[in-house]
């Protein structure tokens, strides 16, 4: 019964809805700010996504943690309002503002109800353009940042990422945690926060998308109100990071029952002609679903872990092929050995025709399913702009996946997958695992 249905479904696969049903408009405000918009009037709210490119990597020398602290302080007082007044106003509007700082972007995610859109926009504007960084609030938020730094120092996963980043990226901003160190955060002043704000929140770093109950004209006016007063220019972007890791194992001893291993080596640029082949290859090797090679070999066949995955890290200032696995201290050596073997196998022989077909049907089928909510679509749109993708990318993306051949995957596997360069940072008390550096 099942098999018949399967065959029937495969037969109609040609009729796949391979195109996501979103219509993107480019909107330029009277004041010259550009945004991508999808109108969706069935629910009376709008999701707005704002990005300031550069994020924590725009840090001034010696001020590690300033941009993070500045981001955490955006809700702590602005214009005439203190933090209590700001929060009460936001609650009363039932507007949702999220400020988040990453290595590549400072992101602002906002949702607001159509009926009270103007008041919501005015409120968000004060946080973005007129924060006051009150001294008393700064001490409280600084204490929260210091608590986070201490807490990360006892979390095996954080320790692993930190050690990997330090080894991989050295003095580049990627080489240290954006929250900063106990010393650097303790030394920050209010002036540093104003300076951090000037460095990041500027028009030359700005990318915007909106999805929801709003027309192009309304969005244009909103953009000028909300963002028109931002300064034109901020700090310049950092250079690409130079990759400082070599193949081997670095062990960071930590008292925990299960080791965490973070691994990786150089990756591939998005504008590389073989990027899509690499993307499909990663899906087969260790991509998110429950049937990748690593998932099958490390978890399903051997029970060595609950989770193992890989991904192409397409960061702005470094391109890596990365992965992570957690395994009991007495099993992690075997897990690493299986991962290395799979790495070598795929480098040497590529993948099978069936694996390639399965990965392509998954990736092309899953793509349109991503576009199923205002917030989700808005995040995709702003991500496309940050990656410098054309506005019609959604229509051509699946064709690029479809075009990948077995030869392409084999070629990119031989070039990309380098078992001898694969670096493991292991945090825990691994048994039978030799550190090599």
């Amino acid at each position: 019964m099942i098999r018949i249905a399967l065959a029937a479904c495969l037969a109609i696969a040609a009729a796949w809805p391979a195109r996501a049903a979103v219509e993107i408009q480019e909107v330029t405000s009277p004041g010259g700010i550009t945004a991508w918009l999808v109108e969706e009037h069935s629910i009376p709210f709008t999701a707005l996504e704002i990005r300031f490119k550069g994020g924590a990597s725009l840090e001034a020398p010696g001020k590690r943690g300033a941009i993070n602290l500045m981001t955490w302080m955006l809700e702590e007082g602005s214009g005439e309002m203190d933090s209590q007044a700001f929060a009460a106003a936001q609650e009363a509007l039932a507007a949702k503002f999220d400020f988040d700082i990453g290595n590549d972007t400072l992101s602002v995610s906002a949702k607001f109800l159509t009926e009270i859109r103007d008041a919501s926009v005015d409120l968000l504007k004060t946080a973005l353009t007129d924060p006051t960084f009150p001294a008393e609030a700064m001490e409280r938020v600084r204490a929260q940042a210091l608590a986070r730094i201490r807490s990360d120092a006892t979390d095996p996963e954080e320790i692993a990422w930190d050690a990997f980043d330090r080894a991989a990226f050295g003095d580049h901003p990627y080489g240290s945690d954006k929250v900063g160190t106990l010393e650097s955060v303790a030394a920050l002043t209010r002036d540093d926060l104003f300076d951090a704000h000037d460095r990041v929140l500027t028009k030359d770093h700005l990318y915007v998308s909106a999805v929801g109950d709003i027309t192009p004209e309304e969005l244009g006016a909103l953009l000028d109100t909300l963002l028109g007063e931002l300064p034109d220019e901020g700090a310049s972007y950092p250079p690409m990071a130079e990759l400082g890791i070599e193949g081997g194992v670095n062990i960071v001893p930590f008292d925990t029952p299960q080791s965490v291993a973070v691994f990786g080596h150089a990756g591939i640029r998005r504008d590389d002609p073989d990027f899509f082949a690499a993307f499909v290859l990663n899906q087969i090797l260790g991509g998110g679903d429950l049937s990748s090679r690593l998932f099958t070999e490390v978890r399903e066949k051997r029970g060595l872990t609950y989770g193992v995955y890989t991904y192409l890290a397409d960061w702005d200032y470094a391109k890596l092929l990365m992965g992570q696995v957690q395994s009991a201290n007495d099993k992690v050596a075997e897990a690493i050995s299986v991962i290395r073997d799979e790495w070598a196998k795929v480098a040497e022989t590529g993948v099978t025709a069936e694996e390639l077909e399965d990965a392509k049907t998954y990736l092309t089928g899953a793509y349109p399913l991503r576009f199923d909510g205002n917030g989700r679509i808005a995040r995709i749109l702003v991500g496309m702009q940050l990656s410098d993708l054309p506005i019609d990318y959604i229509e051509t993306r699946n064709d690029k996946v479809e075009a990948v051949t077995l030869e392409d995957v084999k070629r990119v596997a031989a070039r990309l997958m380098r078992p001898e360069d694969l670096h493991f940072t292991v945090v825990g008390q691994p048994v039978g695992l030799e550190a090599t550096n």
Partner: protein, 462 residues
């Protein structure tokens, strides 16, 4: 901001009452089917929820509900090991499952025209699971690794496990969903199949289909694929051991070197939403919003973080949807230099003040307005709407209860909230836990002892 606020209160009632279309039907074999329509994208979420979770496990078999959830991916008479997930992936979908004390759920998210295939496979594994001793041995290693990763590597989760064990003196909510390690290590094929045969049946399940679908078509497909499945005969009422009267506070101090920031966390035994009687739970939802729902304006953060500056963080939480009695929690993470005894005293003072002063009118209206707005934002995610029904229906509520819930919340008065607060916030029915790193020197240990409260710590007293 006062003028803005006045405008908003005037506007607030005008928010449109929109609702996703919900249609329900029960098949002859007892399967309850719920269809939620959302035609914005050609996507469907297909979920089967079993009214069986960790709190329904036999004594000594902790973890079997979750273990079985993993084993459901192993294969049936018609499906090879891993074939279900591979098939979903091949059709561009994603799938997974989840286990809780009150339910176990399985879901796929696919293009809407693939719904029938999902139903076919999910119906197949409702009754025809086929697993062997090899599957079971490997997968037991996986769940033990999962326990290591999620619980043993995380001191806050370990703390929570101990706290729940102390809060529930008799009810199985005191046993972790993933299981105690020593019992997980002994789980076998018979345990899994016994649980499976009893509870995985149409008369113990809820099918939820949400997305770009027509209800009549869903019902016809459900009839075709789930309709022929046999119900479990003689499935009795769902009764777990209940809590005796709780007469005395319990306290614990949990020390782990990985806890860098000490904290105090307290859970009170509290009522959950009951079918046809959700009022007290609704009052507690609003109480939680007023005490800790916002890091700036709520009572505990405002008093402890912003005014007294005793705390880095202060919080409250309440989970209203639960088959049996649930818990209401509060907590404080003090600023460095403030000991846990002082922090706990500050927390108690803030609560006492609140019980005396009552609720600020404006804050009350803001919290309720946010709940109204939440109904609009929630429409953006059909999956979350589907989960709302799944959790409700597996917790003993009806579709009518789930639909009435937003109105029940809006009907809550300040008096209701204060009455619920006085009824629930009593330490005789609570566990107070301190989490911290062990002292590294004798001096530190002496300092910690000096700040210990009168009640004995390091043990669960009752």
């Amino acid at each position: 901001m006062r003028r803005l606020f006045a405008v908003l209160i005037a506007l607030a009632p005008a928010l449109p009452a929109l609702a996703t279309e919900v249609t329900t039907r029960t098949l002859d074999n007892g399967l309850e089917v719920v269809v939620l329509e959302d035609h914005r994208a050609p996507v469907v979420v297909h979920q089967v929820w079993y009214k069986a979770g960790a709190a329904d496990e036999p004594p000594g078999k902790s973890g079997i509900a979750h273990y079985l959830e993993h084993l459901l991916f192993k294969g049936t008479d018609d499906l090879e090991e891993g074939e279900l997930s591979a098939t979903v992936a091949r059709h561009g979908g994603s799938d997974n499952a989840f286990t809780h004390w009150d339910y176990t759920g399985y879901w796929q998210r696919v293009a809407a025209d693939r719904l029938e295939l999902m139903m076919e496979m999910e119906a197949d594994r409702m009754r025809d699971l086929q697993i062997d001793d090899v599957d079971i041995a490997t997968e037991r290693e996986v769940i033990l690794e999962e326990r290591s990763q999620r619980v043993d590597s995380n001191p806050y989760r370990l703390f929570g496990e101990q706290k729940m064990a102390a809060l529930y003196m008799n009810h199985p909510y005191g046993i972790p969903v993933i299981g105690w390690r020593h019992e997980m290590e002994a789980l076998d094929l018979d345990d899994a199949m016994a649980f499976y045969r009893t509870y995985y049946a149409p008369n113990n399940a809820i099918l939820i289909v949400a997305g770009d679908v027509a209800p009549d078509e869903v019902f016809a497909l459900a009839e075709e694929h789930y309709g022929p499945l046999a119900p479990t005969a003689g499935l009795g009422p769902r009764e777990r051991p209940q809590e005796p009267p709780q007469l005395v506070e319990r306290r614990m101090t949990f020390e782990d070197p990985r806890i860098s920031e000490p904290y105090v966390s307290r859970d009170y035994l509290a009522p959950a939403r009951e079918p046809g009687a959700q009022e007290e739970a609704a009052a507690l939802v609003i109480l939680s919003g007023i005490l800790g729902g916002n890091d700036f304006t709520s009572v505990l953060p405002r008093k402890l973080v912003h005014e007294d500056q005793t705390a880095l963080y202060a919080w409250s939480y309440y989970s209203a949807t639960s088959y049996d009695a649930t818990s209401f929690g509060i907590g404080i993470q003090p600023v460095p230099g403030v000991g846990l005894e002082q922090a706990e005293a500050a927390l108690d003072d803030a609560l006492a003040e609140f019980l005396e002063e009552g609720i600020d009118d404006e804050q009350f209206e803001r919290v309720k307005f946010q709940l109204r707005a939440q109904r609009i934002y929630a429409e953006d995610s059909t999956r979350h709407l589907a989960e709302r029904y799944g959790r409700g229906l597996t917790s003993g509520l009806t579709v009518e209860d789930v639909q009435a819930w937003p109105d029940v919340l809006q009907a809550v008065t300040q008096e209701d909230v204060m009455a619920a607060a006085r009824a629930v916030l009593t330490r005789d029915r609570a566990v107070t836990g301190w989490g911290r790193a062990p002292a590294e020197t004798e001096e530190e240990a002496a300092a910690m002892d000096a700040s210990a409260p009168d009640a004995p710590v390091e043990e669960v007293t009752q």
